[in-house]
Symmetry: C2
Subunit: 339 residues, 2 copies
């Protein structure tokens, strides 16, 4: 599949999905769409991912340049912004598929549904759960695989990235590892998965359990993509359901260096790192004990490598476990603690 | 509204919704339906609630005896059992409404929808959330009212009952108190509310916050109906979302005397009571600090009043806070700690 990735006014720092796809998916990327044109090419801004031109909209691309438009940004609440309509319309008129992880389902948009039907493209809402998701039975712990879950100090600190990096590193060491995708970006990258934040709240744990049971006897390690944080004023329910539904054996605490309050305008201060360790381990204990065995620190905001290493060291000290920046320094420093 | 309450093979102990309606709702109750006929009348089994005959099915009742059939039981998973179909059909053929809190929506059942349309009855799925439920903004703490949340050691230990009893007791003392209903039974009793376990998981906290913001400046006290338990293998997500979404000022820990494992076949042992206190308080702290100020012990399974008092005393000791069985002994022992 050759894709164009919509990331208007948000690339790269506000475009988590776009970056995830550029970094980890197997798609050929025709372009990133950002009408602010923050640069000519992706690698001008983010050097260590797949390169692609940055253009203003679908109409700047040749009609044959791609097969699909991916929505690569997700505003709080997951709504569709009207400024994206022209690009989706043009893509559909070219017969492209449109892949979206928004809470707003493109399939339910009358204009888009009509255009898809007329021109033969497909609307793929990856955040629409399948109909059979149900209540957890508490059986995820029975699978053969070791289950390793990324948990976070906040949203958008790098849990999906850590999951992907650790699974790849484990495979490079010769282990049979798989990713359990729980959010839109992970699902877009892996091509399957349950959008856990979009299922009925009673089925949150069940949506994770179902995936672990399906894959758990086929692999040595399952790396579960975590969501949110257990102290998130809005999303902690999802975090809690994934923790208990996955019955994780080991946890990896993900954090962004320098983050001081919960992102997107909440008034919740980030507590000390040991508070998170106590909360995650304490909450796991009665259901299925798990310890934080490693930390993943996102040092994207620190320019200097030495300062980044200092930040990692300080984080490892606070955590009482090995830590690293998986993207910047690789997984070597933490993999032994997890496998 | 005059209602018949369906509770086949489950009355009274497996019929939480039926009991809640009998105890707290303002409806006239024509009968409880249980084809096992565990007794002739409700009060033969449960003395301290509204009395009504127990009959085998809708067809044992006069067509004019009621205006609505309430589904008063909820199997794990919230499915509809085919053994109930005949009663729902008969009720609809009589032009009655049918009120259900199941995850399975009666409105989506073709046979029921056709019968409702033909005979003029209404299908009311109280577990279907309204369309505007969305992400929490973290603002429930800004309301004038003191927010008191019931939390639990398991499902089905008496959180809904404790909420209703405390709100009534506060009103009897002359305070302006309201209940924030979060589950099917509370919604059936109060006649409004968001079914928090049925909303999109990302909106769990938001569904609670919306109700608190709507009512919080109109009352002195809001008693929020809690759900599940923070260590539930399947439902902890809902519990966590309610804790953070409500930004409760005070918590009441509800427990059933003698309960040793999480109900309905899960393998999770009930940990010591102080573990729950630590988990609930620890999890609340970074978002909106709250302490467990009182305990509600359900001693329904203990025949002897003296033994029940001993159990309450032991529970209060473990909790480090005043406790009582609200139904058996009234709210006096704990109300001072909460108001």
């Amino acid at each position: 599949m050759r894709v164009a990735i919509l990331a208007h006014e948000k690339f790269p720092d506000g475009a988590k999905t776009a970056l995830g796809v550029l970094r980890y998916a197997d798609y050929e990327v025709a372009a990133v769409l950002d009408r602010d044109r923050p640069a000519d090419r992706v690698n001008d801004l983010v050097p260590d991912v797949r390169d692609a031109p940055i253009v203003s909209g679908v109409s700047d691309l040749d009609p044959d340049a791609a097969d699909a438009l991916l929505i690569g940004i997700a505003p709080v609440g997951g709504g569709f912004e009207d400024g994206w309509r022209e690009d989706v319309r043009t893509a559909l008129e070219r017969g492209w598929d449109v892949v979206s992880g928004l809470h707003y389902f493109l399939e339910d948009d009358e204009e888009f549904a009509a255009l898809a039907a007329e021109y033969g493209g497909e609307l793929r809402d990856v955040r629409r759960p399948h109909d059979d998701v149900t209540v957890a039975e508490g059986v995820a712990g029975e699978v053969d695989a070791e289950v390793i879950l990324t948990v976070g100090t906040d949203c958008n600190v790098g849990k999906m990235t850590a999951t992907m990096e650790l699974a790849r590193a484990a495979e490079e060491r010769g282990h049979d590892a798989a990713v359990i995708p729980t959010g839109q970006t992970g699902i877009m990258i892996e091509g399957w998965g349950n959008p856990v934040d979009r299922v009925v709240s009673d089925f949150t744990a069940g949506a994770v359990e179902e995936m672990i049971v399906a894959k758990g006897d086929e692999h040595d390690y399952l790396f579960v993509e975590g969501q949110g944080t257990i102290i998130h004023p809005a999303y902690s329910a999802v975090t809690c359901g994934i923790l208990h539904g996955s019955r994780a054996d080991k946890l990896v605490l993900c954090h962004e260096a320098g983050r001081e309050t919960i992102a997107h305008g909440y008034d919740t201060a980030i507590p000390p790192i040991p508070t998170y360790v106590d909360l995650y381990e304490g909450l796991a204990e009665p259901v299925s004990p798990a310890r934080v065995h490693a930390g993943a620190l996102n040092t994207y905001g620190i320019d200097d490598d030495g300062a980044a290493r200092d930040a990692v060291e300080e984080y490892a000290d606070a955590l009482g476990a090995p830590a690293t920046d998986l993207v910047r320094f690789g997984a070597e420093g933490v993999l032994d603690a997890l496998l």
